[in-house]
Protein backbone atom coordinates (compact mmCIF):
# COMPACT_ATOMS: atom_id res chain seq x y z
CA UNK A 1 0.00 0.00 0.00
CA UNK A 2 1.32 3.45 -0.87
CA UNK A 3 1.28 6.31 1.63
CA UNK A 4 -1.30 8.91 0.71
CA UNK A 5 -1.07 12.65 1.19
CA UNK A 6 -3.55 15.46 1.13
CA UNK A 7 -2.09 18.15 -1.10
CA UNK A 8 -5.05 20.51 -1.22
CA UNK A 9 -8.03 21.23 1.03
CA UNK A 10 -10.77 23.81 0.84
CA UNK A 11 -14.27 24.61 1.90
CA UNK A 12 -16.96 26.99 0.76
CA UNK A 13 -18.72 29.08 3.34
CA UNK A 14 -21.42 26.99 5.00
CA UNK A 15 -24.88 28.36 5.53
CA UNK A 16 -27.72 29.09 3.28
CA UNK A 17 -26.26 29.44 -0.13
CA UNK A 18 -27.44 31.18 -3.25
CA UNK A 19 -25.18 28.87 -5.19
CA UNK A 20 -26.41 25.67 -6.81
CA UNK A 21 -25.08 22.39 -5.47
CA UNK A 22 -22.72 21.97 -8.41
CA UNK A 23 -21.45 25.52 -8.12
CA UNK A 24 -20.72 24.95 -4.41
CA UNK A 25 -18.88 21.74 -5.19
CA UNK A 26 -16.99 23.23 -8.12
CA UNK A 27 -15.82 26.17 -5.98
CA UNK A 28 -14.53 23.91 -3.19
CA UNK A 29 -12.92 21.51 -5.67
CA UNK A 30 -11.27 24.23 -7.68
CA UNK A 31 -9.87 25.86 -4.56
CA UNK A 32 -8.44 22.54 -3.36
CA UNK A 33 -6.92 21.71 -6.76
CA UNK A 34 -5.30 25.10 -7.25
CA UNK A 35 -3.40 24.71 -3.97
CA UNK A 36 -1.34 21.95 -5.56
CA UNK A 37 1.33 22.58 -8.21
CA UNK A 38 -0.44 20.32 -10.68
CA UNK A 39 1.29 21.53 -13.84
CA UNK A 40 0.17 19.28 -16.67
CA UNK A 41 -1.01 16.52 -14.39
CA UNK A 42 -4.60 15.43 -14.77
CA UNK A 43 -7.01 14.35 -12.07
CA UNK A 44 -7.49 10.60 -12.41
CA UNK A 45 -10.65 10.21 -10.42
CA UNK A 46 -13.32 12.26 -8.70
CA UNK A 47 -15.08 10.88 -5.68
CA UNK A 48 -18.14 12.78 -4.51
CA UNK A 49 -19.91 12.54 -1.17
CA UNK A 50 -23.58 13.44 -1.10
CA UNK A 51 -26.69 12.14 0.55
CA UNK A 52 -29.69 13.70 -1.12
CA UNK A 53 -29.08 15.48 -4.41
CA UNK A 54 -31.50 13.30 -6.33
CA UNK A 55 -34.24 14.09 -3.84
CA UNK A 56 -33.49 17.66 -2.83
CA UNK A 57 -31.78 19.12 -5.88
CA UNK A 58 -33.09 17.02 -8.76
CA UNK A 59 -29.59 16.00 -9.70
CA UNK A 60 -28.48 12.39 -9.82
CA UNK A 61 -25.11 11.15 -11.04
CA UNK A 62 -23.51 13.98 -9.13
CA UNK A 63 -19.88 12.93 -9.54
CA UNK A 64 -20.00 12.82 -13.33
CA UNK A 65 -21.86 16.13 -13.29
CA UNK A 66 -18.98 17.60 -11.26
CA UNK A 67 -16.38 16.20 -13.67
CA UNK A 68 -18.34 17.90 -16.43
CA UNK A 69 -18.61 21.16 -14.54
CA UNK A 70 -14.85 21.23 -13.91
CA UNK A 71 -13.85 19.89 -17.35
CA UNK A 72 -11.93 17.05 -15.78
CA UNK A 73 -12.73 14.58 -18.59
CA UNK A 74 -12.16 11.69 -18.76
CA UNK A 75 -11.59 11.34 -15.00
CA UNK A 76 -13.37 8.43 -13.35
CA UNK A 77 -16.36 9.58 -11.32
CA UNK A 78 -18.32 8.05 -8.51
CA UNK A 79 -20.64 9.21 -5.77
CA UNK A 80 -20.55 7.75 -2.29
CA UNK A 81 -23.78 7.83 -0.32
CA UNK A 82 -23.26 6.76 3.26
CA UNK A 83 -25.68 9.04 5.06
CA UNK A 84 -24.02 11.80 7.07
CA UNK A 85 -20.80 9.72 7.01
CA UNK A 86 -20.62 10.05 3.22
CA UNK A 87 -17.81 12.60 3.43
CA UNK A 88 -15.23 10.54 5.29
CA UNK A 89 -16.37 7.47 3.36
CA UNK A 90 -15.57 9.21 0.10
CA UNK A 91 -12.15 10.22 1.44
CA UNK A 92 -11.59 6.58 2.34
CA UNK A 93 -12.57 5.46 -1.17
CA UNK A 94 -10.17 8.02 -2.61
CA UNK A 95 -7.47 6.89 -0.20
CA UNK A 96 -7.93 3.28 -1.32
CA UNK A 97 -7.70 4.27 -4.96
CA UNK A 98 -4.40 6.09 -4.40
CA UNK A 99 -2.94 3.63 -1.88
CA UNK A 100 -3.64 0.71 -4.19
CA UNK A 101 -1.81 2.39 -7.05
CA UNK A 102 -4.87 2.37 -9.21
CA UNK A 103 -5.06 6.17 -9.29
CA UNK A 104 -2.61 8.97 -8.58
CA UNK A 105 -4.55 12.18 -8.23
CA UNK A 106 -7.97 11.82 -6.71
CA UNK A 107 -10.26 14.73 -5.97
CA UNK A 108 -12.72 14.10 -3.15
CA UNK A 109 -15.56 16.56 -2.85
CA UNK A 110 -18.47 16.47 -0.43
CA UNK A 111 -21.43 18.72 -1.03
CA UNK A 112 -25.01 19.14 0.03
CA UNK A 113 -27.59 21.79 -0.64
CA UNK A 114 -30.30 21.16 1.90
CA UNK A 115 -31.89 24.60 1.98
CA UNK A 116 -33.29 24.07 -1.49
CA UNK A 117 -36.18 22.39 0.33
CA UNK A 118 -38.00 23.79 3.37
CA UNK A 119 -37.04 22.79 6.90
CA UNK A 120 -39.90 20.32 7.30
CA UNK A 121 -38.81 18.50 4.17
CA UNK A 122 -35.20 18.59 5.32
CA UNK A 123 -36.17 16.99 8.63
CA UNK A 124 -38.18 14.38 6.77
CA UNK A 125 -35.31 13.71 4.37
CA UNK A 126 -32.82 13.17 7.18
CA UNK A 127 -35.27 10.88 8.97
CA UNK A 128 -34.97 8.48 6.03
CA UNK A 129 -31.82 7.35 7.84
CA UNK A 130 -33.94 5.63 10.46
CA UNK A 131 -35.18 2.06 10.09
CA UNK A 132 -37.83 1.97 7.39
CA UNK A 133 -40.25 -0.23 9.34
CA UNK A 134 -39.21 -0.23 12.98
CA UNK A 135 -38.51 3.51 13.42
CA UNK A 136 -39.53 5.75 10.53
CA UNK A 137 -43.30 5.02 10.54
CA UNK A 138 -43.47 6.15 14.17
CA UNK A 139 -42.33 9.63 13.28
CA UNK A 140 -38.81 8.97 14.51
CA UNK A 141 -36.44 11.75 13.47
CA UNK A 142 -32.72 12.09 14.11
CA UNK A 143 -33.37 14.61 16.90
CA UNK A 144 -35.80 12.09 18.44
CA UNK A 145 -33.14 9.37 18.44
CA UNK A 146 -30.67 11.84 19.89
CA UNK A 147 -33.18 12.88 22.55
CA UNK A 148 -33.74 9.29 23.66
CA UNK A 149 -30.00 8.68 23.65
CA UNK A 150 -29.36 11.86 25.62
CA UNK A 151 -31.89 10.99 28.32
CA UNK A 152 -30.26 7.62 28.94
CA UNK A 153 -26.70 8.89 28.67
CA UNK A 154 -27.27 11.86 30.95
CA UNK A 155 -28.94 9.73 33.60
CA UNK A 156 -26.16 7.17 33.49
CA UNK A 157 -23.23 9.56 33.66
CA UNK A 158 -24.56 12.62 35.46
CA UNK A 159 -24.43 14.88 32.43
CA UNK A 160 -26.60 17.97 32.87
CA UNK A 161 -28.24 20.51 30.60
CA UNK A 162 -25.37 22.88 31.55
CA UNK A 163 -22.86 20.45 30.09
CA UNK A 164 -24.80 20.32 26.84
CA UNK A 165 -24.95 24.10 26.80
CA UNK A 166 -21.16 24.23 27.31
CA UNK A 167 -20.66 22.23 24.14
CA UNK A 168 -22.91 24.62 22.25
CA UNK A 169 -21.24 27.71 23.67
CA UNK A 170 -17.74 26.41 22.98
CA UNK A 171 -18.52 25.47 19.40
CA UNK A 172 -20.37 28.70 18.72
CA UNK A 173 -17.35 30.58 20.07
CA UNK A 174 -15.01 28.57 17.81
CA UNK A 175 -17.23 29.23 14.80
CA UNK A 176 -16.85 32.96 15.38
CA UNK A 177 -13.18 32.40 14.49
CA UNK A 178 -14.01 30.44 11.34
CA UNK A 179 -14.91 32.62 8.35
CA UNK A 180 -16.65 29.68 6.66
CA UNK A 181 -18.92 28.83 9.58
CA UNK A 182 -22.69 28.94 9.20
CA UNK A 183 -23.61 30.27 12.64
CA UNK A 184 -21.73 33.31 13.78
CA UNK A 185 -23.43 34.00 17.04
CA UNK A 186 -22.28 33.88 20.60
CA UNK A 187 -24.51 32.04 23.04
CA UNK A 188 -24.97 32.88 26.69
CA UNK A 189 -25.84 30.37 29.40
CA UNK A 190 -28.31 32.91 30.70
CA UNK A 191 -30.07 33.26 27.36
CA UNK A 192 -30.29 29.58 26.48
CA UNK A 193 -30.79 28.03 29.89
CA UNK A 194 -31.12 30.14 33.00
CA UNK A 195 -33.19 33.22 32.14
CA UNK A 196 -36.96 32.99 32.51
CA UNK A 197 -37.05 33.67 28.78
CA UNK A 198 -34.88 30.68 27.89
CA UNK A 199 -37.71 28.26 27.19
CA UNK A 200 -38.86 30.46 24.33
CA UNK A 201 -35.32 31.30 23.14
CA UNK A 202 -34.29 27.69 23.26
CA UNK A 203 -37.35 25.48 23.10
CA UNK A 204 -37.23 21.71 23.32
CA UNK A 205 -36.73 19.96 20.01
CA UNK A 206 -36.64 16.43 21.42
CA UNK A 207 -36.37 16.64 25.17
CA UNK A 208 -33.96 16.81 26.91
CA UNK A 209 -32.41 18.31 23.78
CA UNK A 210 -33.23 21.88 22.90
CA UNK A 211 -32.94 24.06 19.83
CA UNK A 212 -29.34 25.08 20.54
CA UNK A 213 -28.35 21.46 21.16
CA UNK A 214 -28.99 20.72 17.49
CA UNK A 215 -26.94 21.54 14.42
CA UNK A 216 -28.42 23.77 11.76
CA UNK A 217 -29.45 22.70 8.26
CA UNK A 218 -26.77 24.00 5.96
CA UNK A 219 -25.61 24.20 2.39
CA UNK A 220 -21.93 23.85 1.63
CA UNK A 221 -19.13 21.90 0.05
CA UNK A 222 -15.60 20.89 0.98
CA UNK A 223 -12.88 19.18 -1.02
CA UNK A 224 -9.50 17.55 -0.58
CA UNK A 225 -7.01 16.50 -3.22
CA UNK A 226 -5.21 13.19 -2.63
CA UNK A 227 -1.86 12.13 -4.10
CA UNK A 228 0.65 9.34 -3.50
CA UNK A 229 3.52 10.13 -1.12
CA UNK A 230 6.16 10.01 -3.83
CA UNK A 231 4.47 12.83 -5.72
CA UNK A 232 3.91 15.19 -2.80
CA UNK A 233 7.16 17.12 -2.87
CA UNK A 234 6.36 18.24 -6.43
CA UNK A 235 2.84 19.25 -5.48
CA UNK A 236 3.08 20.99 -2.13
CA UNK A 237 5.43 22.23 0.57
CA UNK A 238 3.04 21.39 3.37
CA UNK A 239 1.81 17.85 2.87
CA UNK A 240 -0.49 16.18 5.33
CA UNK A 241 -0.50 12.41 5.53
CA UNK A 242 -3.55 10.21 5.91
CA UNK A 243 -2.19 8.11 8.76
CA UNK A 244 -5.15 5.96 9.62
CA UNK A 245 -8.72 5.22 8.68
CA UNK A 246 -11.16 3.01 10.54
CA UNK A 247 -14.75 2.25 9.78
CA UNK A 248 -17.52 0.26 11.42
CA UNK A 249 -21.24 -0.34 11.22
CA UNK A 250 -23.81 -0.81 13.98
CA UNK A 251 -27.47 -1.89 13.98
CA UNK A 252 -29.76 0.36 12.02
CA UNK A 253 -32.52 0.37 14.65
CA UNK A 254 -31.03 2.02 17.73
CA UNK A 255 -33.14 -0.12 20.09
CA UNK A 256 -31.37 -3.30 18.94
CA UNK A 257 -28.06 -2.26 20.49
CA UNK A 258 -27.20 -4.19 23.65
CA UNK A 259 -26.52 -0.93 25.49
CA UNK A 260 -28.14 1.99 23.68
CA UNK A 261 -25.81 4.44 25.46
CA UNK A 262 -22.80 2.90 23.79
CA UNK A 263 -21.71 3.92 20.33
CA UNK A 264 -19.98 0.68 19.45
CA UNK A 265 -19.25 1.61 15.86
CA UNK A 266 -17.49 4.76 17.07
CA UNK A 267 -15.30 2.73 19.40
CA UNK A 268 -14.38 0.14 16.78
CA UNK A 269 -13.83 2.61 13.95
CA UNK A 270 -11.58 4.69 16.21
CA UNK A 271 -9.58 1.69 17.43
CA UNK A 272 -8.99 0.62 13.83
CA UNK A 273 -7.85 4.08 12.82
CA UNK A 274 -5.44 4.30 15.78
CA UNK A 275 -4.09 0.84 15.00
CA UNK A 276 -3.49 1.71 11.38
CA UNK A 277 -1.79 4.97 12.33
CA UNK A 278 0.24 3.38 15.10
CA UNK A 279 -0.99 6.09 17.43
CA UNK A 280 -2.98 6.38 20.62
CA UNK A 281 -5.63 8.86 21.68
CA UNK A 282 -3.06 10.72 23.80
CA UNK A 283 -1.02 11.48 20.65
CA UNK A 284 -3.84 13.48 19.09
CA UNK A 285 -3.45 17.27 19.05
CA UNK A 286 -6.99 18.15 18.04
CA UNK A 287 -10.22 16.44 17.01
CA UNK A 288 -13.26 17.15 14.93
CA UNK A 289 -16.18 15.15 16.30
CA UNK A 290 -19.64 14.71 14.83
CA UNK A 291 -21.64 17.01 17.10
CA UNK A 292 -24.91 16.98 15.18
CA UNK A 293 -26.28 17.13 18.73
CA UNK A 294 -24.31 18.46 21.69
CA UNK A 295 -24.64 15.17 23.57
CA UNK A 296 -22.79 13.40 20.76
CA UNK A 297 -19.60 15.41 21.24
CA UNK A 298 -19.47 14.29 24.87
CA UNK A 299 -20.35 10.65 24.14
CA UNK A 300 -17.97 10.38 21.20
CA UNK A 301 -15.08 11.95 23.11
CA UNK A 302 -15.34 8.95 25.42
CA UNK A 303 -15.91 6.24 22.82
CA UNK A 304 -12.95 7.44 20.76
CA UNK A 305 -10.81 7.01 23.87
CA UNK A 306 -9.90 10.61 24.61
CA UNK A 307 -11.58 10.42 28.02
CA UNK A 308 -12.70 7.59 30.24
CA UNK A 309 -16.33 6.53 30.00
CA UNK A 310 -18.49 8.96 31.91
CA UNK A 311 -15.71 11.57 32.13
CA UNK A 312 -16.16 13.42 28.85
CA UNK A 313 -18.40 16.07 30.36
CA UNK A 314 -15.92 16.62 33.18
CA UNK A 315 -13.07 17.29 30.75
CA UNK A 316 -15.41 19.62 28.87
CA UNK A 317 -16.32 21.52 32.03
CA UNK A 318 -12.62 21.91 32.87
CA UNK A 319 -12.05 23.56 29.50
CA UNK A 320 -9.80 20.77 28.24
CA UNK A 321 -11.60 20.70 24.89
CA UNK A 322 -11.41 24.41 24.19
CA UNK A 323 -8.86 25.91 21.83
CA UNK A 324 -5.83 26.21 24.10
CA UNK A 325 -6.96 23.24 26.18
CA UNK A 326 -5.32 19.82 26.33
CA UNK A 327 -7.36 18.45 23.41
CA UNK A 328 -9.26 21.07 21.43
CA UNK A 329 -12.44 19.57 19.97
CA UNK A 330 -14.29 21.07 17.04
CA UNK A 331 -12.06 24.06 16.48
CA UNK A 332 -14.02 24.68 13.27
CA UNK A 333 -17.21 25.20 15.25
CA UNK A 334 -18.26 21.62 14.61
CA UNK A 335 -21.49 20.61 12.97
CA UNK A 336 -23.15 22.58 15.72
CA UNK A 337 -22.01 25.96 14.51
CA UNK A 338 -19.88 25.50 11.39
CA UNK A 339 -22.96 23.81 9.97
CA UNK A 340 -23.92 20.38 8.67
CA UNK A 341 -24.40 20.01 4.94
CA UNK A 342 -24.58 16.25 5.39
CA UNK A 343 -22.51 15.02 2.44
CA UNK A 344 -19.93 17.78 2.91
CA UNK A 345 -19.45 17.34 6.65
CA UNK A 346 -16.93 14.48 6.69
CA UNK A 347 -14.75 16.11 4.04
CA UNK A 348 -14.99 19.42 5.84
CA UNK A 349 -13.86 17.88 9.14
CA UNK A 350 -10.81 16.50 7.36
CA UNK A 351 -10.22 19.85 5.67
CA UNK A 352 -10.24 21.54 9.09
CA UNK A 353 -7.55 19.12 10.30
CA UNK A 354 -5.51 19.94 7.20
CA UNK A 355 -5.82 23.70 7.84
CA UNK A 356 -4.73 23.16 11.44
CA UNK A 357 -1.84 20.82 10.60
CA UNK A 358 -0.58 23.25 7.94
CA UNK A 359 -0.83 26.10 10.45
CA UNK A 360 -3.40 27.95 8.36
CA UNK A 361 -6.29 28.05 10.80
CA UNK A 362 -5.97 31.75 11.59
CA UNK A 363 -7.43 32.87 14.88
CA UNK A 364 -8.51 29.35 15.80
CA UNK A 365 -5.07 27.84 15.17
CA UNK A 366 -4.04 25.16 17.67
CA UNK A 367 -0.41 25.45 18.72
CA UNK A 368 1.93 23.15 16.81
CA UNK A 369 -0.43 20.24 16.13
CA UNK A 370 1.06 16.95 14.93
CA UNK A 371 -1.87 14.58 14.59
CA UNK A 372 -5.53 15.34 14.04
CA UNK A 373 -8.53 13.04 14.45
CA UNK A 374 -11.89 13.27 12.68
CA UNK A 375 -15.02 11.30 13.44
CA UNK A 376 -17.81 11.21 10.87
CA UNK A 377 -20.99 9.59 12.13
CA UNK A 378 -23.82 8.40 9.94
CA UNK A 379 -27.39 7.60 10.84
CA UNK A 380 -27.53 7.47 14.59
CA UNK A 381 -24.16 5.79 14.85
CA UNK A 382 -25.01 3.14 12.25
CA UNK A 383 -22.05 3.95 10.08
CA UNK A 384 -18.91 5.57 11.40
CA UNK A 385 -15.62 6.56 9.81
CA UNK A 386 -12.62 7.70 11.83
CA UNK A 387 -9.71 9.39 10.09
CA UNK A 388 -6.31 10.35 11.49
CA UNK A 389 -4.11 12.87 9.72
CA UNK A 390 -0.46 13.62 10.49
CA UNK A 391 1.66 16.60 9.61
CA UNK A 392 4.33 15.95 6.95
CA UNK A 393 6.05 12.68 6.21
Amino acid sequence: MRDVAIVGAASTPFGRSQWSLLKLMAEASHAAMTQARLGDRRIDAVCVANMGSARNNRQAGLASALVDRLNLFPAAAETVENGPASGASAVKVGFQAVASGMSDLVLVCGGERMREVNNLEATEFVSYLSHRYAEYPYGVTLPALAGMFARLFMAKHGVTAEHLAMVAMKNHANALLNPNAHIKMELSLEGILHSPHALMNNPFVADPLRFFDCCPVSDGAAAVLLAPAEMTSDLTDRPVRIAGIGQATDTQAVHERPDPTELTAVRIASQRAFEMAGLEPKDISLAELHDAFTILEIAQSEEVGFFKRGKGHIALAKGETQIGGRLPINTSGGLKAKGHPVGATGVSQIAELVFQLRGEAGKRQVKDPRHGFALNFGGFGNSVVATILSRGF
Binding site: R115, V126, L199
Partner: protein, 229 residues
Protein backbone atom coordinates in the same frame (compact mmCIF):
# COMPACT_ATOMS: atom_id res chain seq x y z
CA UNK B 1 -55.72 72.59 10.65
CA UNK B 2 -57.26 69.64 8.99
CA UNK B 3 -59.79 70.70 6.50
CA UNK B 4 -63.21 69.14 6.21
CA UNK B 5 -62.39 66.82 3.33
CA UNK B 6 -59.37 65.45 5.12
CA UNK B 7 -61.49 64.90 8.20
CA UNK B 8 -63.84 62.75 6.15
CA UNK B 9 -60.96 60.55 5.07
CA UNK B 10 -59.63 60.02 8.56
CA UNK B 11 -61.19 56.98 10.15
CA UNK B 12 -62.66 57.31 13.61
CA UNK B 13 -60.40 55.67 16.17
CA UNK B 14 -61.15 53.46 19.13
CA UNK B 15 -59.57 54.11 22.47
CA UNK B 16 -56.51 51.82 22.54
CA UNK B 17 -54.75 50.77 25.71
CA UNK B 18 -50.98 51.16 25.53
CA UNK B 19 -48.70 48.13 25.36
CA UNK B 20 -46.49 48.19 28.46
CA UNK B 21 -42.86 47.68 27.41
CA UNK B 22 -41.00 44.52 28.40
CA UNK B 23 -37.53 43.14 27.91
CA UNK B 24 -36.30 39.71 26.90
CA UNK B 25 -32.84 38.22 27.38
CA UNK B 26 -32.13 36.47 24.07
CA UNK B 27 -30.08 33.32 23.48
CA UNK B 28 -27.00 35.41 22.75
CA UNK B 29 -27.35 37.21 26.06
CA UNK B 30 -28.38 40.37 24.26
CA UNK B 31 -31.38 42.15 25.70
CA UNK B 32 -34.29 43.07 23.47
CA UNK B 33 -36.71 45.76 24.53
CA UNK B 34 -40.19 45.20 23.15
CA UNK B 35 -42.26 48.35 23.12
CA UNK B 36 -44.87 50.22 21.21
CA UNK B 37 -43.64 52.41 18.36
CA UNK B 38 -45.04 55.90 18.03
CA UNK B 39 -46.14 57.62 14.85
CA UNK B 40 -43.11 59.89 14.88
CA UNK B 41 -40.94 56.78 14.50
CA UNK B 42 -42.69 55.53 11.38
CA UNK B 43 -40.33 57.29 8.98
CA UNK B 44 -37.35 55.49 10.51
CA UNK B 45 -39.16 52.17 10.27
CA UNK B 46 -40.03 52.82 6.63
CA UNK B 47 -36.41 53.56 5.79
CA UNK B 48 -35.38 50.20 7.23
CA UNK B 49 -38.19 48.28 5.54
CA UNK B 50 -37.77 49.94 2.16
CA UNK B 51 -34.89 47.86 0.69
CA UNK B 52 -36.45 44.61 1.90
CA UNK B 53 -39.39 45.14 -0.44
CA UNK B 54 -37.10 43.90 -3.19
CA UNK B 55 -35.79 40.85 -1.38
CA UNK B 56 -37.37 37.80 -2.94
CA UNK B 57 -36.63 35.45 -0.08
CA UNK B 58 -38.68 34.05 2.78
CA UNK B 59 -41.58 36.30 1.74
CA UNK B 60 -39.59 39.39 2.77
CA UNK B 61 -40.73 41.23 -0.37
CA UNK B 62 -44.45 40.86 0.15
CA UNK B 63 -44.33 41.23 3.93
CA UNK B 64 -42.16 44.35 3.64
CA UNK B 65 -44.27 45.92 0.91
CA UNK B 66 -47.45 45.39 2.87
CA UNK B 67 -45.96 46.45 6.19
CA UNK B 68 -44.65 49.57 4.48
CA UNK B 69 -48.09 50.52 3.25
CA UNK B 70 -49.73 49.68 6.56
CA UNK B 71 -47.31 51.83 8.56
CA UNK B 72 -47.54 54.65 6.06
CA UNK B 73 -51.33 54.35 6.20
CA UNK B 74 -51.14 54.60 9.97
CA UNK B 75 -48.93 57.67 9.83
CA UNK B 76 -51.19 59.56 7.45
CA UNK B 77 -54.36 58.43 9.22
CA UNK B 78 -55.73 56.05 6.63
CA UNK B 79 -55.86 52.89 8.74
CA UNK B 80 -58.11 52.70 11.74
CA UNK B 81 -56.94 51.55 15.19
CA UNK B 82 -53.52 50.42 14.12
CA UNK B 83 -50.60 49.82 16.44
CA UNK B 84 -47.00 48.80 15.92
CA UNK B 85 -44.59 47.07 18.30
CA UNK B 86 -40.85 47.01 17.81
CA UNK B 87 -38.03 44.88 19.18
CA UNK B 88 -34.90 46.93 19.85
CA UNK B 89 -31.50 45.51 20.82
CA UNK B 90 -28.90 48.02 22.05
CA UNK B 91 -30.93 50.73 20.41
CA UNK B 92 -30.95 48.95 17.04
CA UNK B 93 -34.18 47.84 15.43
CA UNK B 94 -34.43 44.02 15.41
CA UNK B 95 -38.02 43.43 14.35
CA UNK B 96 -41.44 44.95 13.75
CA UNK B 97 -44.96 43.63 14.23
CA UNK B 98 -48.25 45.39 13.67
CA UNK B 99 -51.97 44.87 13.71
CA UNK B 100 -55.17 46.71 14.44
CA UNK B 101 -58.40 46.53 16.36
CA UNK B 102 -61.23 45.49 14.08
CA UNK B 103 -63.61 46.33 16.87
CA UNK B 104 -63.52 46.11 20.63
CA UNK B 105 -63.65 42.32 20.63
CA UNK B 106 -61.76 41.32 17.52
CA UNK B 107 -58.18 42.02 16.60
CA UNK B 108 -56.47 41.69 13.28
CA UNK B 109 -52.88 40.59 13.06
CA UNK B 110 -51.06 42.24 10.19
CA UNK B 111 -47.38 41.42 9.80
CA UNK B 112 -44.25 40.17 11.54
CA UNK B 113 -40.88 41.22 10.17
CA UNK B 114 -37.67 39.97 11.76
CA UNK B 115 -34.61 42.00 10.83
CA UNK B 116 -32.24 40.07 13.03
CA UNK B 117 -32.43 36.34 12.51
CA UNK B 118 -31.44 33.29 14.48
CA UNK B 119 -32.52 34.62 17.87
CA UNK B 120 -36.25 33.97 17.55
CA UNK B 121 -36.94 37.69 17.37
CA UNK B 122 -39.93 37.04 15.09
CA UNK B 123 -41.37 34.43 17.43
CA UNK B 124 -40.98 36.73 20.45
CA UNK B 125 -42.59 39.66 18.64
CA UNK B 126 -45.48 37.63 17.25
CA UNK B 127 -46.15 36.47 20.81
CA UNK B 128 -46.02 40.07 22.03
CA UNK B 129 -48.58 41.00 19.40
CA UNK B 130 -50.95 38.29 20.63
CA UNK B 131 -50.31 39.44 24.19
CA UNK B 132 -51.25 43.01 23.23
CA UNK B 133 -54.52 42.04 21.59
CA UNK B 134 -55.73 39.73 24.31
CA UNK B 135 -54.28 41.18 27.51
CA UNK B 136 -54.02 44.92 26.89
CA UNK B 137 -56.48 45.72 24.12
CA UNK B 138 -58.75 43.26 25.89
CA UNK B 139 -60.03 41.52 22.80
CA UNK B 140 -61.54 38.04 22.67
CA UNK B 141 -59.81 36.86 19.55
CA UNK B 142 -57.18 37.71 16.95
CA UNK B 143 -57.66 36.94 13.27
CA UNK B 144 -54.55 35.72 11.56
CA UNK B 145 -53.36 34.80 8.10
CA UNK B 146 -49.79 34.23 7.02
CA UNK B 147 -47.83 34.94 3.89
CA UNK B 148 -45.47 32.01 4.45
CA UNK B 149 -46.87 28.47 4.39
CA UNK B 150 -44.17 27.25 6.75
CA UNK B 151 -44.71 30.20 9.08
CA UNK B 152 -48.44 29.60 9.00
CA UNK B 153 -48.07 25.92 9.71
CA UNK B 154 -45.76 26.68 12.60
CA UNK B 155 -48.20 29.03 14.33
CA UNK B 156 -51.12 26.81 13.49
CA UNK B 157 -49.44 23.93 15.32
CA UNK B 158 -47.60 25.88 18.03
CA UNK B 159 -50.46 27.87 19.55
CA UNK B 160 -52.54 26.09 18.04
CA UNK B 161 -54.74 28.31 15.88
CA UNK B 162 -58.30 27.39 14.98
CA UNK B 163 -60.03 28.00 11.66
CA UNK B 164 -62.32 30.98 11.32
CA UNK B 165 -63.11 30.46 7.70
CA UNK B 166 -66.37 32.42 7.86
CA UNK B 167 -64.25 35.55 8.30
CA UNK B 168 -62.48 37.04 5.33
CA UNK B 169 -59.25 38.44 6.76
CA UNK B 170 -58.70 41.94 5.44
CA UNK B 171 -55.25 41.09 4.12
CA UNK B 172 -57.17 39.16 1.49
CA UNK B 173 -56.20 35.79 0.19
CA UNK B 174 -56.96 32.90 2.46
CA UNK B 175 -59.79 32.81 4.93
CA UNK B 176 -58.90 33.62 8.50
CA UNK B 177 -57.45 31.60 11.33
CA UNK B 178 -58.02 32.63 14.89
CA UNK B 179 -56.31 32.76 18.24
CA UNK B 180 -58.90 32.86 21.00
CA UNK B 181 -58.48 34.15 24.54
CA UNK B 182 -58.65 30.57 25.77
CA UNK B 183 -55.93 29.21 23.46
CA UNK B 184 -53.81 32.26 24.20
CA UNK B 185 -53.78 31.69 27.93
CA UNK B 186 -53.08 28.01 27.43
CA UNK B 187 -50.10 28.76 25.21
CA UNK B 188 -48.89 31.74 27.23
CA UNK B 189 -46.56 29.92 29.67
CA UNK B 190 -44.72 28.35 26.72
CA UNK B 191 -44.71 31.14 24.21
CA UNK B 192 -45.06 34.53 25.83
CA UNK B 193 -42.07 35.70 27.84
CA UNK B 194 -40.68 39.03 28.95
CA UNK B 195 -39.96 40.98 32.11
CA UNK B 196 -41.70 44.14 33.26
CA UNK B 197 -41.17 46.84 34.12
CA UNK B 198 -38.26 47.79 31.90
CA UNK B 199 -35.70 49.78 33.91
CA UNK B 200 -35.75 53.42 32.80
CA UNK B 201 -32.16 53.45 31.57
CA UNK B 202 -32.73 50.31 29.49
CA UNK B 203 -35.92 51.72 28.03
CA UNK B 204 -34.07 54.91 27.18
CA UNK B 205 -31.63 52.95 25.01
CA UNK B 206 -34.50 51.96 22.74
CA UNK B 207 -35.21 55.52 21.63
CA UNK B 208 -34.44 56.98 19.18
CA UNK B 209 -34.41 53.80 17.11
CA UNK B 210 -31.13 53.18 15.33
CA UNK B 211 -31.33 51.62 11.90
CA UNK B 212 -29.53 48.30 11.53
CA UNK B 213 -26.63 48.27 9.11
CA UNK B 214 -28.17 47.32 5.77
CA UNK B 215 -25.47 44.84 4.83
CA UNK B 216 -25.52 43.05 8.17
CA UNK B 217 -29.27 42.97 8.02
CA UNK B 218 -29.32 41.45 4.55
CA UNK B 219 -26.77 38.80 5.50
CA UNK B 220 -28.91 37.96 8.53
CA UNK B 221 -32.05 37.80 6.47
CA UNK B 222 -30.45 35.71 3.76
CA UNK B 223 -29.12 33.17 6.12
CA UNK B 224 -31.14 31.99 9.01
CA UNK B 225 -30.77 29.11 11.36
CA UNK B 226 -34.46 28.84 12.00
CA UNK B 227 -34.46 25.40 10.44
CA UNK B 228 -32.89 22.55 12.33
CA UNK B 229 -32.35 18.91 11.55
Amino acid sequence: MIDELEAMLRPPALEMAPYPPKFITLASGEVMVVRQASIDEVDTLLEVIDPLKHLHRDFYDIVSARLYSELLGWKVHRVRNEYCLVGVIDGVLAGIVNGRMFDERHGISYHTLALKRGLRVGAHLFAAKMEHHIEYLGEDEVWIVAESPIGHRRWMIEYPLATKFEIQHELGGAPSWVLTRETYFKAKPRLVVGTRPVPQDLLATSRPIKKPDLRTMLVQVEDTLEARL
